[in-house]
């Protein structure tokens, strides 16, 4: 259904009430379910978008402010567009979206789903001209759309090359049980961040009662600051599909899905081609490599702009054609997943690592990294450093080493694992990258001395308020309130009480929310208050200051009464 909705959005620039009704009929679903799916996703719209639909990333690394000037505002001025709205002639709409995974490429945007990177004021002005002349995208400078993956450090995983056939032959040769045994012994843990033992997950799924089983690859790389899956999906897609096939072989599944984030829609075509080529070579489809009882194929599903769909049970809901609201857990997907059947959900990097382990044996893997975090981790490094890009390190590497390697100097702070992860101060740079120390799904944001950390916190708070699924009260309302409190401090209206408030709110959201998004959404605030108290306290007012703008508060009253005389205004002094 998501594909059908994408097609309607592309062709009609929006999804009308009539279209919703039609899709509901086609898929034999309640109208409200289709309407709820449309409303849930940022990339679906019920009012027409422009023929050129532009979404600027608002991430701290690839966002429209990351180059030091407001590029969104600039383009809006050039084209006379109000942000978030479609120009009256329907030519163009300009809005912002959460991180689009271009953090090593400078300020970036999506235009009709295609990324344009390395933006600057000059490029934005040219872009405005091309739009004003309604130049079709294929006639735009082709190099604007180039995405270069810069891998600065290769280790165990990235030194290998795609060898899907060898991987499958090896597994078929040693059999299901031995394949699983190799994985169990390797100590491989999920690369998405939570770190559940991969072999154990496959084993649990295999043992769970069910009519059928599914393999799902979570390619919804939505954590701001992470982009390594973008490279893996481009360069190692064959190994990914082989990793998924291995999993299918072990657990006895015949159907797999790759849930690709909408921001990577541009990768869809090449992924489809790779799938086709795997099928042609007998690596997918019926009787894989002639093995009579091994059928498995993979379907690609593209998400539609919802960070929460990276949570495995929300992802499964989305696959089932429902809004991505995390399920009540337990039961976990490994016993009750897609369509209620046992399902393995793993991250892109995890499947590729699993494939590589089975192919090359687990000896090297097991002896790399630390005792509880074996192997290597691929990091996406961006922010204030000389060499942003992709780095593969053995677990156990010190943070300081990473910073030295990427040419980061005078680092003020860093955020590991995205806004939901850990905020580190320089005193902690001796800590190590590991599941039991500093854990990360792959995002590593570096903040130099000139960065205003409060701006970063406000950016993160806004991200969570925007991405909260709205299911539970503490997260739905609490993320909004945290954003408001941070704004209050930034506007110079904060008092010591604001900080107490912020702390209490953050704890409440962390402790009482339904899922991982809520549990982690306030981490950055709590860590900021603890590790960088001056970020907040230096903005407080020594004297009494109203916590809101008195004059601004009267605006709606002025509007209703059609007044704008001096008596209808209040002084803030």
């Amino acid at each position: 259904m998501l594909h059908r909705l994408h097609a309607i959005q592309r062709d009609c620039l929006h999804i009308s009430r009539e279209s919703i009704q039609q899709v509901a009929q086609e898929f034999d679903l309640p109208i409200a379910q289709v309407a709820a799916v449309v409303a849930f996703h940022s990339f679906f719209h019920t009012r027409p978008r422009g023929r050129f639909d532009i979404l600027f990333s608002n991430c701290t690394s690839c966002g429209y402010l990351s180059g030091g000037q407001d590029l969104l505002q600039l383009l809006c001025l050039q084209l006379q567009v109000t942000p978030g709205e479609t120009r009256a002639d329907g030519l163009v709409s300009i809005d912002e979206t959460s991180c689009i995974g271009m953090c090593d490429q400078g300020p970036s945007l999506l235009i009709n789903g295609l990324p344009i990177t390395h933006l600057n004021d000059n490029k934005v002005v040219q872009l405005a001209q091309l739009i004003a002349l309604e130049t079709p995208l294929p006639d735009w400078p082709a190099n604007w759309f180039d995405i270069h993956h810069t891998v600065h450090r290769r280790d165990w995983l990235l030194s290998g090359s795609p060898v899907p056939r060898e991987i499958m032959l090896k597994a078929l040769d040693i059999g299901r049980d031995n394949t699983l045994a190799i994985l169990l012994q390797s100590g491989l843990r999920g690369r998405g961040g939570a770190g559940f033992a991969t072999g154990r997950k496959w084993q649990l799924c295999r043992e769970a009662p069910g009519d059928t089983r599914y393999v799902v690859c979570n390619a919804d790389e939505g954590e701001p600051g992470t982009f390594k899956d973008r490279m893996l999906l481009t360069t190692y897609a064959e190994n990914l599909f082989a990793g998924m096939a291995l999993c299918a072989f072990v657990i006895g599944a015949t159907q797999g899905f790759v849930y690709l984030r909408a921001e990577y829609h541009y990768l869809l075509e090449s992924l489809q081609e790779t799938l086709q080529s795997c099928r042609r070579h007998g690596l997918l489809g019926n009787r894989i490599l002639g093995h009579s009882d091994f059928d498995f194929d993979i379907t690609l599903i593209v998400g539609a702009g919802a960070y929460i769909c990276g949570e495995e049970s929300a992802l499964i809901e989305s696959l089932e054609g429902k809004p991505g609201i995390p399920r009540i857990r337990p039961p976990f997907p490994v016993t009750h997943g897609y369509l209620g059947q046992p399902t393995v959900v793993n991250n892109v990097e995890t499947f590729i690592a699993a494939a590589h382990i089975v192919h090359s044996g687990n000896e090297t893997f097991r002896t790399t990294g630390t005792a509880s975090s074996t192997g290597t981790k691929i990091l996406s490094i961006s922010g204030d450093c000389a060499l942003p890009g992709i780095y593969e390190y053995p677990f156990g590497v010190r943070i300081r080493q990473i910073l030295d390697d990427c040419g980061a100097q005078n680092v003020q702070a860093m955020q590991i694992g995205g806004p939901a992860g850990t905020l580190l101060n320089p005193a902690e740079f001796g800590r190590t990258l590991a599941f039991d120390d500093v854990s990360s799904g792959g995002s590593l944001l570096i903040f130099g001395p000139q960065r205003d950390l409060l701006t970063i916190h406000r950016n993160f708070a806004r991200f969570f308020a925007h991405e909260s699924c709205g299911f539970c009260t503490p997260c739905r309302v609490g993320t909004q309130l945290i954003q408001k409190e941070l704004d209050t401090i930034a506007e110079g209206r904060g008092s010591a009480y604001t900080i107490v408030e912020l702390q209490q709110l953050a704890r409440l959201v962390q402790q009482q929310s339904h899922c991982g998004l809520g549990h982690t959404a306030a981490n950055h605030v709590l860590e900021g208050l603890h590790k960088f108290p001056l970020t907040f306290s230096s903005r407080l007012q020594p004297q009494f200051t109203a916590r809101f703008d008195l004059d601004q508060a009267l605006a709606s009253a002025r509007h209703i009464t059609h007044r704008d005389d001096s008596a209808a205004h209040l002084s803030n002094d």
């Binding site: 309640p30 409200a32 379910q33 309407a35 809004p323 309302v477 402790q511 339904h514």
Partner: protein
């Protein structure tokens, strides 16, 4: 294993449970009240309001969706948890437009009763003042989304008991809102009747039966006479009688 011998402990009180029961089910059946708004005996639990958060060790869980397992040591009626519950109730108040003094539901409203129960004296948080659509199209039922707390009770009641599937919740974050499962999105085009459970289960004044608002005078309404605790336990007993 004899089910009757299995117990959980809530605030130093030993409570029996049967396999498959949630902490909420077991507690209410034993006469122990855990504050709740989105839970209703007889409907599948949702876990969205988070008022029933209890603590087991250093973990917080929603009692309405967490399975009771033998030997659990559960903290429920503690100052810390009640403070958190009060803050969550305040969140529900500021997020919508709750106009208690002029709301037909006053005195019969669970949100209002919960606020009293938890000693909530003010909104505490800044008001959101959302603009939400009102649907007065149905001859017998008014839908005012301004007062909706997204508890999902009408969705479940309509789907699982009335078998009409009239409602769903759509939209993310604070954009989340109740929608009606009709081509027009209007309630009048749905098969909903004022006798449906969905029309009568709303804990707040979001779904109101028309022309009934003031049949019982203010001062003699449900929560004017009883506490939300008593009603919560009564609803459970009533559901048990039905079985």
């Amino acid at each position: 294993m004899t089910a009757g011998n299995d117990t959980i402990r809530i605030d130093n009180q030993e409570i029996p449970f049967t396999a498959g029961q949630t902490i909420m089910d077991a507690a209410l059946a034993a006469g122990v009240y855990i504050p709740h708004l989105c839970h209703h005996p007889g409907l599948p639990p949702s876990g969205n309001c988070r008022l029933c958060m209890v603590e087991i060790g250093n973990r917080s869980v929603a009692a309405c969706i967490a399975a009771a397992t033998a030997g659990q040591q559960i903290r429920n009626d503690t100052p810390e948890l009640n403070a958190a519950r009060k803050a969550i109730t305040q969140m529900l108040f500021v997020e919508g437009n709750h106009i208690c003094p002029s709301c037909e539901k006053t005195g019969n409203c669970k949100l209002q009763a919960m606020a009293y129960h938890l000693g909530m004296l003010d909104d505490h948080f800044p008001q959101f003042y959302p603009h939400r659509e009102l649907d007065a199209s149905h001859p017998d039922i008014l839908l005012d989304r301004s007062r909706c707390i997204l508890c999902d009770l009408c969705v479940r009641a309509s789907r699982d008991v009335d078998k009409k599937n009239v409602f769903a919740i759509a939209g993310r974050g604070t954009q989340a809102h109740l929608i009606v499962n009709t081509p027009t999105g209007k309630l009048v085009d749905s098969p909903m009747a004022k006798t449906d459970l969905a029309a009568n289960i709303c804990p707040v004044g979001a779904i109101l039966i028309k022309e009934k608002g003031y049949e019982v005078p203010i001062g003699q309404r449900i929560y004017d006479r009883q506490t939300i605790r008593d009603i919560g336990l009564y609803e459970q007993a009533e559901e048990k009688n039905k079985e």
